[in-house]
């Protein structure tokens, strides 16, 4: 491989320890191998219970594999001595914005990570201000988190990771509890992270319209990778994706079904503009 991969899974299996009443533990992640190159924006899709949240927790060592190996920037996540370094490399944003904010003031929360790392105060101040400006929350730095909207809280959580200067950020359904406006805010921030700051992003989501914006889409099912490729190649498998209990974007589905009726639509169709354009071209060609 030419590109350097920042996250690497080698034949990873993970099973939660069996409960007393269960005869055997069912693996949640089953023989999974995966390499994510630096700077990539990856979306991970899958229905609830497919193992995608477990995947996220395996990346930064909240969970360690039952067998196989996960490495982050060359560091093995099962090596406790490297745990702090791993978490300085991969930050994590969770689903519920309320349960990851630890301070009573926005800027104090953003400072929490750098403070834990023992960074000198003046530099924390600079990093925190920079991170807050990057996510557009600088003006609200003195607010109490519980008075913010869901989208704002998630942006504070993201700023907390940016301030730690991680190379990679893993997000476990960061928009699931937000309204459409909050989702938009968070997705704009995620794109900025990746495009402007060059941070590797692993976005776990249910929303197909978020996944189409990624460089790469991975679809998981029963603890294994079912589809892996660009949004175009993945979403062209309309039947397959539906059979896995997922959606495809409406534009893609419409194009797929129009093609089935014999309409000649050209190009990749993931959003409304591409779809409308292809329909117009096809109609004009007739």
């Amino acid at each position: 491989m030419e590109e350097k991969s920042i996250i690497q899974f080698d034949n990873v299996t993970f099973a939660y320890e069996a409960n007393v009443d269960q005869t055997a533990a069912v693996p949640v992640v089953d023989g999974l191998s995966l390499a994510i190159p630096e700077g990539q924006f990856v979306a991970v899709l899958g229905r609830n219970g497919c193992g995608k949240s477990t995947l996220a927790k395996l990346i930064n060592g909240i969970l360690v594999p039952s067998s196989g190996r996960v490495t982050v920037d060359g560091m093995d996540t099962s090596d406790d001595a490297r745990l702090i370094d791993i978490r300085r490399t991969v930050g994590m944003v969770f689903q519920n914005p309320d349960n990851q904010i630890v301070a009573t003031i926005v800027e104090d929360d953003v400072a929490f990570g750098p403070e834990n790392l023992g960074i000198p105060p003046e530099q924390i101040r600079r990093d925190v201000d920079e991170a807050l400006k990057a996510v557009g929350m600088y003006e609200l730095r003195g607010r109490e988190p519980h008075r913010l909207s869901g989208g704002q809280k998630q942006r504070v959580a993201i700023a907390g990771i940016i301030a730690m200067k991680t190379k990679c950020i893993v997000m476990d359904e960061p928009t699931a509890m937000l309204d459409p406006r909050g989702r938009q805010e968070v997705m704009d921030t995620v794109r900025m992270l990746n495009k402007e700051l060059g941070i590797t992003v692993v976005l776990i989501t249910h929303y197909m319209d978020e996944a189409v914006k990624a460089d790469r889409v991975i679809v998981m099912n029963d603890g294994a990778i079912e589809l892996d490729g660009t949004p175009n190649t993945v979403f062209s498998n309309v039947e397959k994706i539906k059979s896995l209990g997922l959606d495809v974007p409406q534009a893609t589905e419409l194009a797929y079904r129009l093609r089935k009726t014999g309409m000649n639509l050209s190009g990749d169709i993931l959003n409304e503009n591409e779809c409308a354009e292809a329909i117009i071209n096809a109609l004009e060609a007739e």
Partner: protein, 284 residues
């Protein structure tokens, strides 16, 4: 005859304090028996506040709410009855589960109504059936269920009161597409079988388009639009202006018509397919 009727209701938050804010401003609306009404609007538009007036959880500062012809604030009894005639199921209802077993949890509502034991039993089993919970799950602890099952058990807890109108606030929030489809299908079945009115509060205009007969659009503490799905969704531009995410299909049809291919408006893939393949479009 309307099952729920609100007349000129106004509601203020933090009345008499410096942070006083208008949550609802002179809202009048009639919900007819058996109707499935989608309620959309962005956060803070007043939609959640409005539905809490329908079952007497909130009292309007002015105006009246009648349920089944009775002014719900005319007596203590009437307010009490409104709780059961209008079943309200909040967002993330699984967080209200508390009993030892699913069965006991679903029977909490009917129990509070003071019904006899055999009637409660009938209602619990019927509600569980509506939401598709197998009877062997009824003896389990609600905390041992999967996420989707918990959601459905909690909805059953409201359905078991057998309300004449059922209000569901974001019933699909946080579910994956399969779980969402299952809940929406369940709502459709419930409405067909009971003929009860259903109010579906949602951020998803796709979900509303799939189920609802009528759509109520809330904006700035007031009613922005109220009409059939076709009527409301044809105002695509206005809906976008007030911060709503119109379905991708509507956007496609909108772009097509602005480019001179007017097929009419559609909000589901099926309808768009029909319109386009039917070549109903007219070139200028």
């Amino acid at each position: 005859m309307p099952i729920i009727s609100a007349k000129n209701i106004t509601h203020l938050y933090n009345k008499g304090t410096p942070s006083e804010a208008v949550a609802l401003k002179d809202v009048s609306i009639d919900i007819n028996k058996g109707e499935l009404v989608g309620i959309i609007g962005h956060t803070g538009s007043g939609k959640s506040t409005l539905v809490q007036h329908f079952n007497a959880l909130l009292k309007p500062d002015s105006g009246t709410v009648t349920v089944d012809g009775v002014d719900i604030w005319s007596s203590k009894r009437a307010a009490h009855d409104a709780r059961f005639k209008v079943g309200l199921c909040f967002q993330y209802p699984e967080y209200q589960l508390f009993e030892e077993t699913v069965y006991k949890d679903i029977s909490f509502g009917p129990g509070n109504m003071g019904l006899p034991g055999d009637e409660i039993d009938r209602r619990v089993r019927r509600a569980a059936e509506y939401v598709g919970l197998q009877s062997d799950l009824l003896d389990k602890s609600p905390f041992d269920l999967s996420g989707g099952e918990k959601r459905r058990a909690a909805i059953a807890g409201v359905i078991a009161m057998e309300p004449e109108a059922l209000i569901l606030d974001e019933p699909t929030a946080g579910l994956d597409p399969a779980g969402r489809d299952r809940v929406l299908e369940m709502i459709r079945n419930y409405r067909e079988r009971t003929g009860s009115a259903v109010l579906l509060v949602s951020h998803s205009m796709e979900d509303v388009a799939r189920l609802a007969d009528k759509v109520l659009v809330m904006n700035n503490a007031g009613v922005e639009m109220f009409g059939t799905v076709d009527e409301v969704y044809s105002h695509a531009q206005r809906l976008r202006d007030i911060g709503l995410n119109i379905p991708q299909i509507s956007k496609i049809m909108y772009i097509l018509s602005s480019k001179g291919y007017d097929f009419g408006s559609a909000y589901t893939v099926e309808r768009a397919l029909e319109l386009i393949t039917g070549k109903a479009g007219v070139r200028e």
